[in-house]
C-alpha cells in the first residue's frame, strides 16, 4: 500500500507541532522518519493513526484521500502502529490483547478464545516470534511485549506499520532481532514507517529517509548518506563536539558501594551484588538499556528503598538503612529520572519547589514556621544563577518548559554543599540549549570536588560526561570501563557481555568493517552522532 501525506499541519494552541509536512511511503518500503526528541515525529504519526485530528492537509492511501476519526478507522484502512509506550493491557493474556477490539465471538458475545489463540500462534510462527498466546502480558520481557504489539498490528491485516521509537527499550542485540523482523515484514510486502533519532539504525535498515526538525521536513536522504550529513540535517547546525571538560582529577574515594542487592516482593532480583566506588571530583556514568536496575540503584542510594543486602558508605558513614531525609541531610543531592513525577510538585510555585527538600531546616523555616522572605530571596537568587526563564518566583512550576523545570530541580540540588551528587537522566526530553547548560553545571560540580553519579540510557550523554563508565545489565554491573571505550563494546556490555569478551569481539569485527555495530567509529566521541546530544 502506498501512503502519502500532503501538507499535514497540526497545532497545539499557538504551537505548530507539524507544519505542512509531506511524506510518501512506497509499498514494501522501510521509510525512516528521523528527528530529535520533540521534532514532531510522534505527533505526525498520531495524526496518521487517527489519534489527533489534523488542522490541515490530507492523507492518501493508494491515491485515495482518507480521513480517520479514530484509530479504529485507521486500522480498518490497514494502518497499524506500535507505540513507544506499549498499548497493551498488563493483566490480559497475549491472545486477549491481540483480539481486543476485533474479538472473534461465539453466542452471547463470549470470546472464541481458541480462535484468537490460533491467530496469535499463526502469526507468531510465521515470523518466528516465539510468543505464548496464554502468557499474561505483564509477565513478558519488553522485547516480547513489542512483538505482541507487532502481532496485534499484523492480526488486523496492517499493510502499513508505524514503529514509534521501537529500539528505545531494547538492547543492541534485541535491536538487531527487530531489524531482522522489519526486513521480513518488508519482504512480505508491508510498508514500514520507522521513527527514530538513532542514525546507525536508520542506515542499517531504511530504504528512504525523511528528516524532520521543529515540525518541518528539512530534507530527505538516501541510506547511503553519511552520518555527519544526517546529523547536521537533524540538529540544524554544524555538529559540535561534547561539553568542554578538563580531565578529571580524582581525589580520595568518597562513595563506596559494596555487594548491594535488592530483591523485589515478587522474588525477582533487581540489584544483584553491585559494587563500585566513586572518588571526589569524578563522574561515574552508569550506562545501560532502560529497565536494567538503574532506577532501583538510585532509589537505594537515596534511601527510597532499603537494600536487601550490602552497604553504601559515603565519607565513612553507612547510608544503607537511613531514611531519605537522613541521606539528604547528610549531603546527597539527587535529581530523579522522572522530573515531573519525582522531582517537583507541579502546582507549587518555583520558590516552593526550590526548597522542596530543605524546607524543614534553617534558613527556610524556624520552629516549624516557614520564613517566606528567605524562601523568596533564595528563589530570586537561584533563578538568576541558573537562568530559569519565568515571569516570577510565584509562578507554578508546571507552567514552565521542561528545560526550565529541570534547571529548577538542578538549582535546588546544587544549591548546598554536597558530599555526593546523583543525577538520573538529567537531560531527557530537553532542548539542545538546556542540555549544554545542564552538562556544564554537572561538570562544574565535579570540578568543585564533589563525587558525581550520572545514570543515563543515552550513550551520547554517558560519553559526554563520564570519567568512568559503569555498564548495567539485569541488575549487575557488567563492568566499569574507561570513558574512551568504543561504542560497540559498550553496546555488547549493555547486552550482558563481559568487557574482555566484548573487546575481543570488537577487535575481530574491526578487521571486517561494514557490519552494523562496526559501522561506528572505533573510538572516542569523534562519532558524528555525538552532535545530536552534545
Amino acid at each position: 500500500m502506498r501512503l502519502e501525506l500532503r501538507q499535514i499541519t497540526k497545532r497545539f494552541g499557538s504551537f505548530v507541532a507539524n507544519d505542512a509536512i509531506d511524506l510518501v511511503v512506497e509499498p514494501g518500503q522501510i521509510h525512516a522518519l528521523l528527528g530529535e526528541n520533540g521534532a514532531g515525529k510522534s505527533t505526525l504519526m498520531n495524526v496518521l493513526f487517527g489519534l489527533y485530528a489534523a488542522d490541515g492537509g490530507e492523507i492518501l492511501l493508494d491515491g485515495q484521500p482518507v480521513r480517520f476519526s479514530g484509530p479504529g478507522e485507521a486500522m480498518a484502512a490497514g494502518i497499524g502502529m506500535v507505540h513507544q509506550h506499549f498499548m497493551l493491557v498488563p493483566v490480559f493474556s497475549v491472545a486477549e490483547n491481540v483480539a481486543m477490539g476485533h474479538e472473534p465471538a461465539k453466542a452471547l458475545g463470549l470470546i472464541d478464545l481458541p480462535k484468537s489463540r490460533a491467530l496469535v500462534k499463526e502469526i507468531s510462527e510465521r515470523f518466528h516470534f516465539d510468543v505464548d498466546p496464554d502468557a499474561m502480558v505483564e509477565d513478558l520481557p519488553v522485547g516480547a511485549q513489542q512483538r505482541v504489539e507487532i502481532i496485534k498490528a499484523l492480526s488486523r491485516q496492517a499493510k502499513i506499520l508505524i514503529l514509534d521509537e521501537p529500539t528505545a527499550v531494547l538492547t543492541p542485540q534485541e535491536t538487531d532481532e527487530l531489524m531482522a523482523i522489519m526486513r521480513q515484514l518488508k519482504a512480505a510486502g508491508t510498508s514500514i514507517v520507522f521513527i527514530t533519532h538513532k542514525l546507525r539504525e536508520v542506515q542499517a535498515v531504511a530504504d528512504a529517509i525523511t528528516v524532520i526538525r521543529l515540525g518541518k521536513v528539512v530534507g530527505s536522504a538516501a541510506p547511503t548518506a553519511s552520518q555527519t550529513e544526517l546529523a547536521s540535517l537533524m540538529v540544524g547546525r554544524s555538529v559540535g563536539l561534547g561539553v568542554a571538560k578538563a580531565p578529571a582529577e580524582p581525589g580520595p574515594k568518597a562513595l563506596e558501594v559494596s555487594d548491594l542487592s535488592l530483591v523485589e516482593p515478587s522474588g525477582l532480583t533487581s540489584l544483584d551484588d553491585v559494587s563500585f566506588a566513586v572518588a571526589r571530583g569524578e563522574i561515574l556514568a552508569v550506562a545501560g538499556v532502560q529497565g536494567n536496575g538503574q532506577t532501583e540503584l538510585t532509589q537505594v542510594l537515596l534511601g527510597l528503598r532499603h537494600p536487601t543486602a550490602g552497604s553504601i558508605r559515603l565519607d565513612g558513614r553507612e547510608l544503607a538503612g537511613l531514611s531519605v531525609r537522613e541521606v539528604l541531610d547528610y549531603g546527597v543531592g539527587f535529581v530523579p529520572e522522572d522530573r515531573s513525577k519525582d522531582g517537583m510538585v507541579a502546582s507549587f510555585t518555583i520558590a516552593e519547589n526550590l526548597v522542596l527538600d530543605q524546607v524543614s531546616a534553617a534558613p527556610f523555616s524556624k520552629a516549624g514556621a516557614l520564613d517566606i522572605g528567605a524562601i523568596a530571596d533564595n528563589a530570586s537568587r537561584q533563578i538568576e544563577q541558573f537562568d530559569v526563564r519565568t515571569r516570577g518566583v510565584d509562578t507554578p512550576i508546571g507552567t514552565l518548559s521542561g528545560g526550565n523545570q529541570q534547571k529548577v530541580v538542578l538549582a535546588r540540588e546544587l544549591s548546598r554543599d554536597l558530599r555526593l551528587f546523583i543525577a538520573s537522566q538529567p537531560t531527557r526530553g530537553l532542548d539542545v540549549g538546556s542540555i549544554e547548560f545542564i552538562h556544564a553545571r554537572i561538570v562544574e560540580e565535579r570540578d568543585k570536588g564533589t563525587p558525581v553519579v550520572i545514570v543515563s540510557t543515552e550513550l551520547d550523554e554517558v560519553l559526554a560526561l563520564a570519567d568512568r563508565i559503569a555498564v548495567m545489565y539485569r541488575g549487575r554491573f557488567t563492568g566499569i570501563v574507561p570513558p574512551d571505550t568504543p561504542r560497540d563494546v559498550l553496546g555488547l556490555m549493555m547486552a550482558g557481555v563481559p568487557y574482555e569478551e566484548a573487546l575481543a569481539e570488537h577487535k575481530a569485527h574491526a578487521a571486517t568493517p561494514g557490519a552494523l555495530a562496526a559501522g561506528a567509529a572505533p573510538a572516542v566521541p569523534a562519532d558524528p552522532e555525538e552532535g545530536a546530544r552534545p
Binding site: F49, L51, G70, P71, G72, M75, A76, M81, H83, F86, M87, L88, V89, P90, V91, F92, E96, N97, A99, M100, G101, H102, E103, A105, L108, G109, L110, I111, E138, D139, L140, P141, V142, G143, K152, T171, E174, S261, V263, E264, P265, S266, G267, L268, T269, S270, D272, D273, Q290, G291, N292, G293, T295, E296, T308, A309, R474, G475, R476, G496
Partner: protein, 432 residues
C-alpha cells in the same frame, strides 16, 4: 520500570540471588491462629460441662418439619476449634511455601468460628437456634448488598468509582414503591427500580466521565441528592396522597418445585421471591460475562488501560458511560428489595447505609462477583444473627453484634492490601 527489570529475562535467567529471598508474609496465618485459639479458649472456657445447645434445622421435606438437635456445647466447641486450628496450620504451611491459600480457607474458617460462637451463645438456654431461617434470612438481607456490590464491580472495572451505590439503591427502592403502590402491581415496581438506579448512574457518568469531576466527590454528593429528593417527595407528594402511594405491594414468594425440597439448602435457597432468583442469575451472568465475553474484555480494557483501548478503536468514554448506567441499573434493581420485595412502603433513608456496605463487600471480594457475593453473605449473616440472638437474649450487647461486620471489613481492608488489585485506571478521567 521495576516490573520491567523484574520481568526481563530475555536470555535464560542466571540463578542470581538465592542468598537473598523475599520475606514471607505471616500476617494471615498469625491472624487465623489467634482467632482459633481465642475462640477455643473464649467459648470453651466459659461453657460449662454438661451444657447443651439446641439447633433446629428445617428439612424442606413436607412431613418432617423442623427437628431440633441437641449438641453438647463444650465438646462441639472444642471440635470446631480444632478444625479452625487445622485450617490455621494449613495457612502456615501454604505461607511457608510462599503459596496462596484459596478463598475457601477464610470461608470455611469463618463458618466454623461462627458456628462455635452460635453454640456458645445459646448454650444452656433451652432455646433452639432456627438454623434454616437464620440462613434464609441472611440470604434475603444480603440481596441489596449483592446487587450493590455487582454494580460496584461493573463500574470499577470500566474505570469509574461508584460511591453512589447508596443513592442508587435508595432511588430504586423509591421508584419501585411508588410505581408498585400506584399501580397495585409489584411487578411494575420491580421493572421500574432499575430505571431509577440507571438515572443516578447516568448522573454519575455525566459528571465523572464527561466533566472529569472526582468520582468519589460525585458519588458522595449524588447520595445526598437522592436522599434529599426522595425524602422531599416522600414528605410531600407521597404523604399528600396516601391513598395512592401508601399501600405497599409485595412480590410473591415462589418456591421452586423439587429444588426447594432439598434438605437444609432447599428452603434457604429456593423458597424465596423472584428478586432473589434474579440475584442468582445476575451473579452468574456477571461472573461469566465480565471475564469471558467481548463486552467484559472491552470494558475492562477501559478500566485498565484506556489509551490501549482507544488505539484499538474502543470508544473509551462511551463505554464508560454505558456501563456506569448499567451499574446504576443493577444497584437500582437491588433497591427494589427494600420495598416491593420486603412488602414495605417507602421510608426516608430506608437504605440505611447498605450501599456503603455493598462497596465494602465488593472490595473484600477482590473486585470479583464471586468474592463480592461471599462478602455480602457475610454481612447479611451478621445482620441477621444480631436479630436472631436478640430474640434469644444473649449477653453480648446487640450493638457489638451490629458492629462486627464493619470491624471485620476494617481489618480485612487493612490486611488484604497488596493482595488484590483494583483496576489500574479507576477514577482516572480519560481525556484522549
Amino acid at each position: 520500570m521495576s516490573t520491567m527489570t523484574a520481568t526481563a529475562p530475555a536470555v535464560p535467567a542466571t540463578p542470581a540471588a538465592h542468598h537473598v529471598a523475599v520475606p514471607i508474609s505471616w500476617k494471615a496465618p498469625v491472624a487465623y491462629t489467634v482467632l482459633a485459639v481465642g475462640g477455643l479458649l473464649g467459648f470453651g472456657l466459659s461453657a460449662e460441662a454438661g451444657e447443651t445447645s439446641l439447633i433446629s434445622i428445617a428439612t424442606g421435606a413436607p412431613g418432617l418439619g423442623s427437628p431440633s438437635f441437641e449438641l453438647p456445647t463444650l465438646a462441639s466447641v472444642i471440635v470446631l476449634g480444632l478444625i479452625q486450628l487445622a485450617l490455621a496450620g494449613w495457612a502456615w504451611r501454604r505461607a511457608s511455601q510462599r503459596a496462596k491459600a484459596g478463598i475457601w480457607l477464610p470461608a470455611v474458617f469463618g463458618v466454623a468460628l461462627v458456628i462455635s460462637f452460635l453454640l456458645w451463645a445459646v448454650a444452656g438456654r433451652g432455646y433452639a437456634i432456627q438454623f434454616t431461617s437464620l440462613l434464609s434470612g441472611a440470604l434475603f438481607l444480603s440481596v441489596p448488598l449483592v446487587f450493590g456490590a455487582l454494580a460496584g464491580c461493573v463500574c470499577e472495572h470500566v474505570g469509574v468509582i461508584n460511591v453512589a451505590i447508596e443513592g442508587q439503591l435508595l432511588a430504586g427502592a423509591f421508584l419501585a414503591a411508588v410505581v408498585g403502590s400506584a399501580t397495585g402491581n409489584p411487578w411494575l415496581g420491580l421493572i421500574c427500580a432499575p430505571l431509577a438506579g440507571a438515572l443516578v448512574g447516568a448522573l454519575l457518568a455525566l459528571f465523572a466521565v464527561r466533566y472529569w469531576v472526582d468520582h468519589i466527590i460525585v458519588g458522595i454528593v449524588l447520595n445526598v441528592l437522592v436522599t434529599g429528593l426522595t425524602s422531599y417527595l416522600f414528605s410531600t407528594v407521597l404523604s399528600n396522597n396516601t391513598a395512592v402511594f401508601s399501600n405497599p405491594t409485595q412480590l410473591p414468594r415462589w418456591p421452586i418445585p423439587l429444588l426447594s425440597q432439598i434438605p437444609v439448602l432447599g428452603p434457604v435457597l429456593f423458597d424465596q421471591n423472584v428478586l432473589v432468583y434474579l440475584m442468582y442469575i445476575a451473579v452468574a451472568a456477571f461472573h461469566v460475562m465480565l471475564f469471558k465475553s467481548r463486552w467484559g474484555l472491552r470494558m475492562r480494557a477501559c478500566g485498565e488501560h484506556p489509551k490501549a483501548a482507544d488505539t484499538v478503536g474502543i470508544k473509551v468514554n462511551a463505554t464508560r458511560i454505558r456501563n456506569t448506567i448499567l451499574g446504576g441499573a443493577v444497584a437500582g434493581l437491588g433497591g427494589a428489595y427494600f420495598t416491593v420485595a420486603a412488602g414495605l412502603a417507602f421510608g426516608k433513608e430506608m437504605s440505611a447505609g447498605r450501599g456503603f456496605i455493598a462497596l465494602a463487600a465488593m472490595i473484600l471480594g477482590g473486585w470479583k462477583p464471586k468474592g463480592a457475593i461471599l462478602a455480602a453473605l457475610l454481612f447479611g449473616f451478621a445482620d441477621n444473627l444480631q436479630n436472631a440472638l436478640g430474640v434469644v437474649g444473649v449477653a453480648i450487647p446487640s450493638q457489638f453484634m451490629l458492629m462486627a461486620p464493619y470491624l471485620v471489613t476494617v481489618f480485612a481492608v487493612a490486611g488484604l492490601v497488596g493482595r488484590v488489585r483494583a483496576p489500574a485506571a479507576e477514577g482516572v478521567a480519560y481525556k484522549g
